[in-house]
């Protein structure tokens, strides 16, 4: 029996002349912690909005646990908890009132209060429960926004850039809470452009570029495809010898990051530096990360067919 919770088939979206989504196919399984990655304008939020019923696709179908988000929107929306990207709030009410209203819209009454308390506790909002939304700090508003999406206890939680502009401490706290929900069986769908975040949290990721999925695989598999390493060199004054420029990945002041396809290349790099009398102030060897995978993939559409569209 299939345990798919979200099925996206052949989704196209046109905004006037802009072809924002170009035939997206994607299946997300029960209990997954799934990451949707891509630069700004890749189409991540449009896809999330279609899933949430905020945007209508030009063509294609999306279902949540078998319920079509357009034809059976009532059932589909009950299963989804969506955290919008923008920091929006209702200025008339306090945190607890908003959570009660939000749960109420989904048909839940006072019997849901224990869950509301649990969310407030889990997100560190208990002390702010009776504070008007308007008076909350930015970080607290972000927590309240997440709490609102969870108020009706949805099995599928969609977070659209939840940590944009959030400080490190709050970010850690939010992720601990979301990880706990995932362990308890909630399916998590996350869009982010913080690739480190996705690498740590998501077991599977899709990378989007210009309205298309250019890669879709488990995070581990994606990283394993890149056996290479990054060699970070801080040079004192002298430029990088021309013989090494073909390996150059990035440069910031006198710090050069070289992409090595294997460790054997390192000896060659060091001997070139010695021969050219370039003094090295610092040296670090780093594993390839999702950013390397991402840069490599979004730069080469040919890789798309290699990665395959898993639908």
């Amino acid at each position: 029996m299939s345990s798919s919770v979200v099925k996206i088939n052949g989704i196209h979206k046109h905004f006037g002349g802009l072809h924002a989504l170009k035939g997206i196919d994607l299946t997300i399984e029960q209990g997954e912690f799934f990451g949707l990655l891509g630069p700004n304008g890749a189409g991540k939020s449009t896809l999330i909005n279609i899933l949430a019923g905020l945007t209508k696709p030009t063509s294609g179908r999306v279902s949540v646990m078998g319920f079509d988000v357009d034809q059976q929107y009532q059932q589909a929306r009950k299963l989804l908890g969506v955290v919008p990207q923008e920091l929006v709030f209702d200025p008339f009410f306090n945190v607890r009132e908003m959570l009660r209203f939000q749960a109420g819209y989904f048909g839940r009454g006072r019997e849901n209060d224990a869950w509301v308390d649990e969310i407030l506790e889990g997100l560190g909002l208990t002390e702010k429960a009776h504070t008007n939304m308007r008076r909350l700090s930015g970080g607290m508003k972000r927590r309240a926004l997440i709490a609102q999406a969870l108020a009706h206890r949805p099995p599928v939680i969609v977070l659209d850039e939840p940590t944009a502009g959030v400080d490190v401490e709050l970010r850690q706290m939010l992720w601990e809470f979301i990880k706990r929900l995932n362990r308890e069986g909630h399916t998590i769908i996350l869009t982010t452009h913080y690739l480190e975040e996705a690498e740590t949290l998501c077991r599977r990721v899709a990378m989007m570029k210009q309205g298309e999925i250019v890669a879709l695989d488990s995070t581990v598999n994606m990283l394993n495809q890149f056996s290479g390493k990054n060699l970070v060199l801080k040079l004192s004054g002298a430029p990088l010898p021309s013989g090494l420029e073909q390996l150059l990945k990035s440069k910031e002041d006198q710090t050069y990051t070289l992409a090595l396809s294997d460790l054997d290349q390192m000896e060659g790099v060091l001997s070139t530096l010695r021969l050219e009398n370039v003094k090295v102030e610092d040296i670090q060897l780093k594993e390839a990360d999702l950013e390397d995978v991402f840069l490599s993939l979004v730069g080469s559409s040919a890789l798309k067919s290699e990665m395959g569209d898993v639908a």
Binding site: G53, L54, Q74, F89, G104, F106, G107, Q148
Partner: protein, 258 residues
């Protein structure tokens, strides 16, 4: 297609939230329009009483009160749904409603019911306060209630339409100043349309606000410019047409869902 579904607790929650929204700022949403209406009453009755007599045996001040009550009901029913929607759209928190499983009909009814209650509350307070100053007859209470309910429903619906249509506060202000205000003031709030030149009289017959006010006033004095049955037909017709248009807008996601 309109779907009736069992999530009526959801619709009730939205209705309750909309009620609380205006009740939290009752000074602005209830007290302020009551004061405005009473100022109109004070000034117009002072200036025109003794100069204008619309119906025999009905003092001008008494004639004026039903018009002012109805005008306030209409304006406040409109203001409630339209301001709630435009604020939510501009602030972005409309998303919390759009993400819910509420049907188009449930959304419509929740916003409508809250608007009607605000309009009727303002109307009742003006009526009660006015009784301290004027002896107001009641010829037929059923007509009064019927037109109060229908008028508040019609303008509550109009407010939802305007709230969906407008994208900015200035568009809403334009709608209010260029559509609602002229229709209200040119509807016979302060006068009988029979006192108007023929051209304006004819034009008034195309104004649905005229029928709401005339029918409402008929309930007090048993007299009107047209038959209350005719007014009822016109008002119900307009209400059904607007409600149908409003539901179509909600169903299609016009200006709400991209």
């Amino acid at each position: 297609m309109i779907q009736l579904h069992s999530n009526w607790r959801g619709a009730y929650t939205l209705f309750k939230k909309e009620l609380l929204r205006f009740w939290r700022v009752a000074f602005q949403t209830i007290a302020s329009p009551v004061l405005t209406a009473l100022l109109y009453l004070l000034i117009f009755s002072h200036v025109l009483s003794g100069h204008v007599k619309v119906y025999e045996e009905v003092a001008y001040t008494a004639f004026l009160i039903p018009g002012l009550i109805m005008m306030s009901i209409l304006q406040n029913a409109f203001a409630n749904s339209s301001s709630s929607l435009i604020q939510s759209k501009v602030m972005g928190n409309i998303v919390f409603i759009l993400l819910t499983p509420l049907t188009h009909l449930q959304l419509f009814l929740a916003f409508l019911a809250a608007s009607m209650i605000r309009g009727l509350m303002v109307g009742i307070v003006i009526y009660v306060v006015a009784l301290f100053f004027v002896d107001l007859p009641v010829a037929n209470g059923a007509w009064i209630l019927t037109f109060a309910f229908l008028g508040s429903a019609l303008l509550g619906t109009f407010g939802i339409i305007a709230g969906i249509w407008a994208e900015k506060f200035d568009q809403m202000a334009a709608f209010q100043n260029f559509v609602i205000m002229p229709l209200t003031f040119l509807s016979g709030v302060f006068y009988s349309i029979h006192s108007l030149p023929q051209f304006w009289q004819t034009l008034s017959h195309f104004n649905p606000f005229f029928y709401m006010i005339d029918g409402f006033r008929y309930g007090f004095f048993g007299k009107g410019d047209v038959s209350p049955w005719f007014s009822l037909t016109v008002v119900v017709g307009f209400l059904l047409a607007l409600a149908w248009g409003c539901l179509k807008m909600l169903e299609s996601g016009y200006k709400l869902r991209t």
